[in-house]
């Protein structure tokens, strides 16, 4: 018998990575220039987690997916018009900053409190998903702290695959060094899975899925609680972007070997 799952995905928005990002320092610390002007997208790491969650829930009847998002309400709303077309989920929205400069400790506390407030959540069926490095400037700390606050000891980071068996036990593939995976077996939920990229392609936009999701998305946004992140005790020594050098040349159908040779040669020049 398939045990139904309850999957909570923590995922928020980031500035569209295709836009030009420029760090600036303001009275409240570092931020991105014109951040509210830029379009936003669902954090790609969290996006993979959401798509994997929906895929998993779709195979086990009675399962449910929540998306818990902390971000500026107006921006969340805009992003949800795209995300909600992809897969079925119920939104839990928190109105607060989603800047990459928010304190991951405070962010984790707000997310954990929101998850604890989901009335119908059964922790015995809970899988907590999120992006491996989301909301933590690559440290992988936010989701880990959310799990700790919820008292979930089984944690996996850099996950590429989960296989859930009929009895509720599951196998997880975690990325480890050397391009290999560590295979772990868990007897049952709850567990925290910080996803790497997973294996699923991005689902197509489906208007019917969008319509179904909107029944909960708009009310969730309207009742989104304020979640101010004070950044108390957080100090940034310096902020910079990686040095970029653009030298565009578009070549199609180039053999992989030739690409590799060019990249190696380019690295050698640096």
């Amino acid at each position: 018998m398939n045990t139904p799952l309850q999957i909570v995905v923590c995922g928020s928005i980031v500035p569209d990575p295709l836009q030009t990002l420029e760090p600036v320092t303001g009275p409240n610390g570092p931020s991105l220039k014109n951040e509210m002007l830029l379009p936003a997208v669902l954090d790609p790491w969290a996006g993979h987690a959401l798509f994997e969650a929906a895929h998993l829930a779709g195979k086990r009847s009675g399962s449910k997916v929540w998306l818990v998002s902390l971000g500026p309400k107006a921006k969340l709303q805009q992003v949800m018009m795209t995300v909600a077309q992809k897969v079925p989920f119920e939104l839990v929205a928190l109105d607060g900053p989603a800047s990459g400069f928010s304190d991951s400790f405070e962010t984790a506390a707000a997310l954990a409190a929101a998850i604890e407030a989901i009335a119908s959540l059964d922790r015995a069926k809970l899988l907590l998903f999120g992006g491996w490095e989301s909301a933590s400037r690559g440290t992988g700390s936010t989701l880990q702290m959310v799990g700790e606050r919820l008292g979930i000891g089984e944690q996996f980071q850099g996950v590429d695959e989960i296989t859930v068996r009929d009895d509720g036990s599951f196998t997880v593939l975690e990325r480890i060094e050397g391009g290999r995976h560590q295979v772990s077996v868990c007897a049952a939920p709850p567990a925290v899975l910080g996803w790497a990229t997973g294996n699923l392609p991005e689902p197509k936009n489906n208007p019917q899925v969008g319509m179904a999701n909107m029944r909960t998305v708009m009310p969730a946004l309207q009742r989104a609680k304020a979640a101010p992140i004070s950044n108390t005790g957080l100090r940034f020594e310096s902020v910079s972007l990686p040095k970029q050098q653009r030298e565009t040349r578009i070549v199609k159908n180039m053999p992989v070997e030739e690409m590799a040779r060019e990249i190696v040669a380019w690295i050698g020049e640096e």
Binding site: P39, N205, P207, Q208, R246
Partner: protein
């Protein structure tokens, strides 16, 4: 044997909108305020979901609701009428117009094609030392052209603002990334032919539209009213034009390609927010230009390349770069940096391109409905206003429980439009630009004549045949030289205009990696062009053998994204990943179809993606 029918999902709504531009933004803004009572009960009840308010959907092709193209200066009369508390300071990149100039640009390098009259005029200007930085500032802005009291803004940012307000209201839904393939045209049970909704694009198909592994057939959205607002090259509007035709005497033969850059001005800029320059005379006399200054040292700078510019290798990006480099403008731009880039086609026939504005189950608003004013050079405010007029009409009909038939929409919507300033000013502008078919000087005089006489008088002109390459360049390049350049470019798979222009004296562009960058860099850095996987090619060459015989191949030269390139056997290649959906290929195809000479050999269908920048 017939192909198996595709089983499609179906959804029923009350109103479906095609495209989210200024017209739909106006329509939804005016409509959404009246759908729900203060106590939350429906003010206008849905017929497909009784007990609920009107169910209103909008489907937009691009990845987000703010990826339109137009750095715009507008009087914003219609926008302010709908939004009386509108505060430009609440929208990034918006500012009140502070000063406005019309500038005639002389040719500082001697490469442009100027008529004898212009050359004589230029000599007189220089002799009398009337120019400054090779530009002559006109002593005043004609009243029909000025935008005093208006604002400069980014249409992308404006739509993002309006879209957020609309979605926050919870009364309408706007779905980006979802192109509409076609209108559902059929007879209803009563035998009345009309539009009954739309079909969304198939996904999970190959470039020819054939289903692949993840095939998701486009859903059929049935609605009592389909609002067609997909712009001048939109698939649904063009489908209706083709199937229903245009009113007697109307045509859609005047076009322009607008291409612009959003630029970070140098730190020491002296330009104030709200500064507006309208220019003409350079890089070619037929090409008009614009320069709008936004807050925070940002400017929108661009050109319009019109269909009456009779060059068989007319192009836009290369000309835009020469425009930036004109000394009158370069003194402000030197040291600047590209933020964003984009291009779009403009329907320049104005009111004379107006299709049937309403039919059974559908209405047309915005630029594709002929609302653009070609005399005042204004389109956004007009488009917005037509949307609000339709909303008022639809609300009236729904409250009176009248069906959305052609007759009722004519009374409730079209009559409103006819009685408005959009119609009045559109009629004044109707023939204002006809003189350009006889030359630039005649065209400018014709505009002035129409403007100052409120459209009572104008200078006429009819489109003339496009010269071939050798004829066009006969005074500058020998015929065999043209042949060699064309052959060489085709062998290299590139367009010809760059080589031909340089042969005529246009200097090479001094790339600086900041503002002066290659065309492909502009796509990537400025346009951030997107093409989601699993969609069919939206540009098709209907009869490839026609392309083989086509000598000019202007689709290649004028392509804003270098998405159309020379291919083997003379049939151009199309690369969807570079297309910005500007639609220039549609009106630059010089190969008319035998059965419909008004149409060229390029089919421009619905497709997803395109420009991916909110600053345009």
């Amino acid at each position: 044997m017939s192909e198996p029918a595709i089983e499609r999902q179906r959804m029923d709504v009350d109103v479906v909108c095609v495209g989210f531009g200024p017209a739909t933004a106006g329509f939804l803004t005016a409509l959404s305020r009246h759908l729900v009572n203060p106590d939350g009960s429906p003010a206008v009840e849905s017929r497909v979901a009784p007990g609920l308010p009107l169910q209103v959907m909008c489907y937009e092709r691009s990845d987000d609701i703010s990826f339109g193209v137009s750095g715009v200066v507008t009087r914003a009369r219609g926008i302010r009428a709908t939004l009386p508390d509108f505060d430009p300071s609440q929208i990034p990149m918006a500012a009140a117009v502070s000063q406005e100039k019309v500038v005639y640009l002389l040719d500082p390098i001697g490469a442009s094609r100027r008529s004898l009259a212009l050359r004589l005029g230029d000599r007189a200007v220089r002799a009398l030392r009337l120019d400054r930085h090779h530009g002559v500032e006109l002593p005043y802005v004609p009243p029909f052209l000025h935008k005093q009291g208006g604002m400069v803004m980014s249409l992308g940012q404006f739509l993002q603002h309006v879209g957020a307000e609309l979605m926050g209201s919870g009364t309408v839904q706007i779905w980006p990334g979802m192109p509409v393939a076609e209108a559902l045209i059929d007879e209803n049970q009563a035998g009345v032919r009309g539009v009954h909704g739309v079909r969304l694009c198939d996904q999970g198909v190959d470039r020819n539209g054939q289903p692949e592994a993840n095939f998701l057939p486009g859903m059929d959205i049935h609605a009592a009213l389909t609002v067609v607002a997909d712009g001048p090259v939109g698939a649904v509007g063009r489908q209706l034009d083709q199937e229903i035709g245009l009113p007697q005497g109307h045509h859609q033969r005047e076009w322009a390609l607008g291409m612009k850059m959003v630029i970070d001005l140098p730190e020491n800029t002296e330009l104030e927010p709200g500064t507006v320059f309208h220019t003409f005379g350079y890089p070619e006399p037929e090409i008009f230009g614009f320069f709008y200054v936004h807050p925070d040292r940002v400017a929108t700078v661009g050109i319009f390349v019109p269909s009456w510019f009779r060059s068989p290798v007319r192009t836009s990006y290369r000309y835009l770069q020469h425009y930036l480099l004109h000394p009158y403008l370069w003194r402000y731009l030197q040291g600047g940096k590209l933020r964003s880039w984009g291009a779009k086609s403009l329907q320049e026939s104005g009111r004379r391109a107006e299709p049937f504005l309403a039919g059974n189950g559908y209405a047309r608003i915005g630029e594709g409905s002929g609302s653009t004013n070609v005399l005042t050079g204004s389109g956004v405010d007009e488009a917005w206003t037509t949307g609000t007029q339709l909303a008022e009409g639809v609300l009236e009909l729904l409250r009176e429980r009248k069906p959305l038939t052609r007759e009722n929409l004519e009374t409730a919507y079209v009559a409103r439009r006819r009685a408005s300033w959009v119609e009045e000013e559109g009629r004044i502008a109707e023939k204002a630009r006809d003189g350009f078919h006889k030359g630039v000087v005649t065209g400018l005089l014709g505009m002035a004549l129409a403007g100052f006489t409120k459209g009572k008088h104008w200078l006429g002109g009819e489109p003339q045949l496009m010269p071939d390459l050798k004829e066009y360049y006969q005074r500058k390049i020998p015929a065999e030289g043209v042949e060699r350049i064309v052959e060489d470019c085709h062998n290299r798979g590139v367009s010809c205009h760059g080589a031909l222009m340089e042969r005529c004296g246009w200097p090479a562009i001094p790339y600086d990696g900041q503002l002066l960058i290659t065309h492909q860099d502009a796509l990537l850095v400025g346009g951030k062009v997107q093409a989601p996987a699993g969609m069919a090619d939206h540009v098709r060459f209907i009869y490839p053998d026609f392309c083989e015989r086509c000598a000019t191949k202007m689709c290649i030269e004028m392509c804003s994204g270098q998405a159309i390139t020379p291919g083997p056997d003379g049939i151009p290649l199309f690369d969807r990943e570079k297309c910005v959906h500007c639609g220039a290929c549609v009106w630059n195809c010089m190969t008319p179809l035998d059965d419909d000479p008004q149409r060229g050999n390029i089919s421009f269908r619905a497709g997803a993606g395109g420009l991916h920048s909110p600053e345009n």
